[in-house]
């Protein structure tokens, strides 16, 4: 699971174009939106694309996405439980 979280962080860094950020800088349990990493609604759409392209998970309603993207921890659990590839 720790390896997977690291992979996921690298994918997020690439998808959101966070040039120069290291995976270690993203806390597993800190919120991705708001006070934590500081992502916003457009990032949420980018992460939906990431989930579909990399894991075959389709999220139609962006509001649902925000729950999944609460933290790296929550996101990793959700992907492991729902991934199609």
């Amino acid at each position: 699971m720790e390896d997977f979280k690291r992979t996921l962080k690298l994918q997020i860094i690439e998808a959101l174009n966070l040039q120069g950020m290291q995976p270690e800088e993203i806390d597993d349990n800190a919120p991705l939106f708001g006070d934590g990493l500081g992502l916003d609604s457009i990032d949420s759409l980018e992460l939906i694309v990431l989930l579909e392209r990399n894991y075959g998970i389709k999220i139609e309603d962006p509001r649902e996405g925000r729950k999944v993207f609460e933290s790296i921890h929550v996101m990793a659990d959700y992907i492991q439980a729902n991934r199609k590839k």
Binding site: D40, S41, I42, L45, I48, V49, E60, D61, P62
Partner: protein, 400 residues
């Protein structure tokens, strides 16, 4: 400030070609939304669109003269609206400086996107490259300007969904400061795979007909079309003898600097744009007869716009509605299309019903006008709000 008279208007939308066709459908509450026919996209039947119900060839066949135009859907739509603008109006009288202020979000993308991957292959020599110039927004505008002899001043504005409202504002200023005597202002956008997929990537396209100001709204529908207003100064009217349809009595543009695509929840930009427009016209909110709302039916816009309306008008909100449910969101054309709708209301002293509304937004409880009404209409406020926080409002007033 000198008055800005509106002496002509022309329009093409999903409701058809010409003002008469628009008025008939608006008054009867008939929407132009439906599956697309001419749009080349896998989404053409998945979402409703406000597509103009004619092929590009059919559009050209309806023009009396298109000798200076390219075989472009964008230009055909623009030309049909411009032709109507000049119906009954004289051609350029001597000593009158006239121009065209156009607006578009993606220019000739519709005409080019199917051939794009051939265009970028260096080894492929295209027999006719001229349409490729349409990737520059100026190209379509210049062809239209040449066709209608509007070449003293030619420009194109692109501020997303508020583009043609800004075109009308620039036109007003150029008249008021004596730079031009008369100017045609408006906008045109044709449906493109580029834009459809763009809005789909933002996940704000509704799979059903949109529900402006409804608590259960779920996004917008895209449309296409063109509309132009002929604005004239006093000096020009003396020479043309044209009779004003109405007066553009106020306008404002306000950038709220909140977020790249979303408005602030309290609708600061919308509030300031409307407030400043009324201040410019020197009228109080209570004098506004009707608000043609931006009302795209996206979650963010309608909430922010409702909050702004509520704040500006307090407990006595005038009748309001969004016509996006008739035409779809026509992007750069929408400000001018809705200006034409506002002028129709002023001309015929009537207002048109909102469609698809059931439940008010909880925070404001605002209910749009849902029936056709004959009403004394003095001033109509028309809103156009766009990406990047670009908010524009216009106020049209009866001419007597």
């Amino acid at each position: 400030m000198p008055s800005v008279f509106i002496t002509g208007m022309g329009i093409v939308s999903a409701l058809g070609i010409g003002t008469a066709s628009q008025r008939e459908k608006l008054a009867a509450g008939v929407s132009g939304l439906g599956p697309a026919t001419f749009l080349n996209s896998i989404h053409k039947t998945e979402f409703p669109f406000g597509e103009v119900p004619f092929s590009t060839e059919e559009l050209f066949s309806k023009l009396s003269d298109h000798s200076k135009l390219q075989q472009s859907r964008l230009q055909a739509l623009g030309a049909l609206a411009l032709e109507e603008c000049f119906t009954g109006g004289a051609q350029q009288p001597a000593g009158i400086r006239q121009g065209l202020i156009n607006a578009t979000t993606v220019g000739g993308m519709t005409d080019i996107e199917d051939r794009y991957f051939e265009l970028i292959k260096p080894e492929l020599i295209e027999p006719d490259m001229s349409l490729a110039a349409g990737l520059d927004c100026a190209t379509g505008t210049e062809h239209l300007a040449r066709q209608f002899n509007l070449t003293d001043f030619v420009t194109t504005i692109s501020t997303a969904c508020s583009s043609s409202a800004n075109a009308i504002q620039l036109g007003a200023r150029l008249l008021q400061q004596g730079v031009l005597d008369r100017v045609v202002c408006g906008g045109v956008d044709s449906l493109t795979r580029f834009t459809v997929n763009g809005f789909n990537s933002l996940k704000n396209l509704d799979r059903n007909a949109c529900k402006p100001f409804d608590s259960n709204r779920n996004g917008l529908n895209l449309g296409e079309g063109a509309a132009y207003l002929l604005l004239e100064s006093e000096r020009s009217i003396e020479k043309t003898g044209n009779k004003p349809l109405a007066v553009l009595s106020g306008y404002a543009n306000f950038n709220e600097a909140f977020h790249p695509t979303a408005p602030s929840p309290e609708g600061l930009g919308a509030y300031e744009a409307m407030k400043r427009t009324l201040e410019k016209a020197g009228i109080s909110p209570a004098s506004v007869s009707f608000i043609n709302a931006h009302g795209t039916a996206t979650l963010n816009n309608d909430e922010a716009e409702s909050m702004a309306i509520h704040r500006l008008f307090g407990e006595t909100v005038p009748p309001f509605a969004s016509t996006k449910v008739y035409t779809g969101h026509t992007l750069a054309a929408s400000g001018a299309i809705e200006a034409v709708f506002s002028l129709l209301s002023l001309q015929h002293q009537e207002i048109y019903p909102a469609l698809n509304f059931e439940t008010p937004i909880e925070a404001t409880g605002l209910i749009p006008c849902q029936t056709y009404q004959e009403l004394q209409v003095e001033h109509i406020l028309s809103n156009s709000f766009g990406f990047g926080g670009n908010n524009a409002s216009l106020l049209f007033s009866r001419y007597d």
